[in-house]
Symmetry: C2
Subunit: 338 residues, 2 copies
DNA sequence: AGCCGATCTGTAATCGTTTTCAGTTGCCGA
DNA sequence: TCGGCAACTGAAAACGATTACAGATCGGCT
């Protein structure tokens, strides 16, 4: 049984063990030109000493960190969970590492992490910023390329990958309209640009159908949605259907409906965003917009790599379409209802 | 408008701008003894140059990486998602960074990441290993402390935080028994030690009640559970209830029940693990064991820090109890059934 | 024999920090 | 006036790698 090395061995130890210079060891490791005999001696020495290169030293010298940052609001948001997997996979295949940070929609924490990213000298950043940070992003003079995801400025100085939010929201409205619903309410998050974009799509689609939009903006929690629905459904002008801008709200709506004894879709139809596995299982199944999460993560990394190769190419903004997954929660409206 | 710095400024640039030596700059940054006058000059220079310390250099010199590794099978598993948040928060408060890796239950990928951890010279690792790696973990001679989570060797050389899996599984069996169920089947994952432990608890509890255990081991996917249930429920000796060892299987059971038109709990009761938000919303609500995920993450970090302070203190194994959240999916058995 | 070029190897500089050690001040008391 | 001490500051040596440059060896050619 080998005694655990007290301290990691360095390239010098390997050089000494092999009876060569550190340059030779480095060359063996980096595929430089080395004679077969020495190469073998060095490789044996590497095994014998249990040598592992020190990445800090390597990065310092080479000025490449081989690291991408990923800053999102909360990894527990399933959208970001999925995107992070795609990003991590892409990084893995490119031989890079990922540093993951949760900003909690908190600009201070976000700022701290941006500073960290600079200190890490990351190769690039994939970023879902808060509104506040998005506004001052151009003034920040970051030293690495940034690819925005999910949130996004209209015509930014940065590459971006986003869902076509207005169109997606409109799809939901159109679908509900086709199923016979007219009084369609909207619940949107009040912190992100995403909520705003989806609201805009909702508003436009309603107008196009000659319906009156009725939107409320709430904090991004299920509870907030539950409360909003309960209050709203007690009103005289209660809606027949809800379009909501994320899966937390979807939960809130279902909970409220259950508590008030309103059947879905009999008394209340629902449609929302994010095709999570459980949306299929709840009640009659929930109609949702499915985001191409894999592709969003992959494309973000792809844009990042393109930018690294051609730093001066014009900014690109990738707008991906969502797909509407129709389920029971938007079943045809019963004329008898109400 | 300031032109973007072509290259990050180093401590030398600051020193030059402030007209002092680099040592002084370093002391200002690190709260060393510096006169007020110079401190001010340096701080101004730092602002003027937009200086950010280079963490690679700092780590190389100080030999502290201030980084913890987190290697789990898949961040999309909600248990790990939640744990990762707790870990990240703890790290954030301790001024440390987190490197997140997904092993996909793949020993090769796991090995690659363990190597990476060594090259990063991480401060410590929080690790949910595959069975294969768990077995040879002692022979790996890692140079940093490891805290195991979720999976775990009986009496290892490493600290660990785990759920009391046998007891938790037994709680589910006892609960179902109390509700009148007798033919209680079990579905367990065939890759992790967790599945094995939960099976053991299930087996023991069944035996204690004088019931015959009937367990099957399946691949860790919802589809596998769905298929297993469909086949099993077509048998002559079909169970009245299922105990399943994770939330993916829970989904599989619900899907199968729905497809076969079996009402829950009328024709089929279900209980499982992981109190995810949606388990409340599916059907009559699903009875589950809730793991103290926050505490698991926090405790893992706490154990890590203790170990760093006292490298030689005896290994500790924290066993946390789950709580049984009772919902409609295990409603009292109808005598009329069958 | 002498020269050239190809091929390998080693020396030493470098990346950006921290930290030791050795000054350099200025102040105080004698 | 001078020694001594405290308080600060700077020069230089690490940390562990990569790499430009130069030196060594050797075969082949004239």
């Amino acid at each position: 049984m080998s005694a655990p090395a007290k301290t990691a061995s360095s390239i010098k130890d390997v050089a000494r063990a092999a009876g060569v210079s550190v340059a030779t060891v480095s060359r063996v490791l980096g595929n430089g030109p080395v004679s077969e005999a020495l190469r073998k001696r060095v490789e044996d020495a590497v095994r014998a000493t249990g040598y592992r290169p020190n990445l800090s030293a390597r990065r310092l010298r080479s000025q490449h960190s081989q690291t991408v940052g990923l800053v999102v609001s909360d990894i527990r948001n399933p959208f970001f969970t999925a995107v992070s997997r795609a990003v991590e996979d892409a990084a893995y295949h490119a031989g890079m590492r990922v540093i993951l940070c949760n900003s909690d929609e908190n600009p201070e924490r976000e700022e701290l992490y941006l500073r960290l990213m600079q200190e890490e000298r990351i190769t690039g950043l994939i970023f879902a910023p808060t509104r506040a940070t998005l506004d001052r992003l151009d003034r920040l003079d970051l030293e690495f390329p940034v690819v925005l995801i999910d949130r996004n400025a209209p015509a930014g100085r940065h590459d971006a990958v986003v869902l076509d939010n207005p169109q997606a929201a409109a799809m939901l409205v159109d679908h509900l309209h086709a199923r016979g619903y007219r009084r369609i309410a909207g619940l949107f998050g009040n912190t992100s640009t995403t909520g705003a974009e989806r609201h805009e799509g909702y508003r436009a689609a309603m107008a196009a159908k000659g319906l009156v939009p009725a939107a409320r903006f709430i904090a991004p929690y299920a509870d907030a949605a539950e409360e909003a629905v309960e209050r709203w459904m007690a009103d005289a002008d209660r809606p027949e259907a809800f379009v909501v801008s994320n899966s937390l709200f979807l939960m809130g709506v279902v909970k409220a409906a259950r508590r008030m004894g309103l059947s879905i879709p009999g008394r209340l139809a629902v449609a929302g965003f994010d095709n999570e596995p459980w949306t299929e299982l709840v009640g009659p199944g929930l109609t949702v917009i499915e985001q191409p999460v894999q592709e969003i993560g992959r494309s973000a990394m792809a844009l990042l790599f393109e930018r690294l190769e051609q730093p001066d190419r014009p900014t690109r903004r990738l707008v991906l379409a969502g797909t509407c997954v129709v389920r029971g929660s938007t079943g045809a409206r019963l004329e008898a209802a109400d």
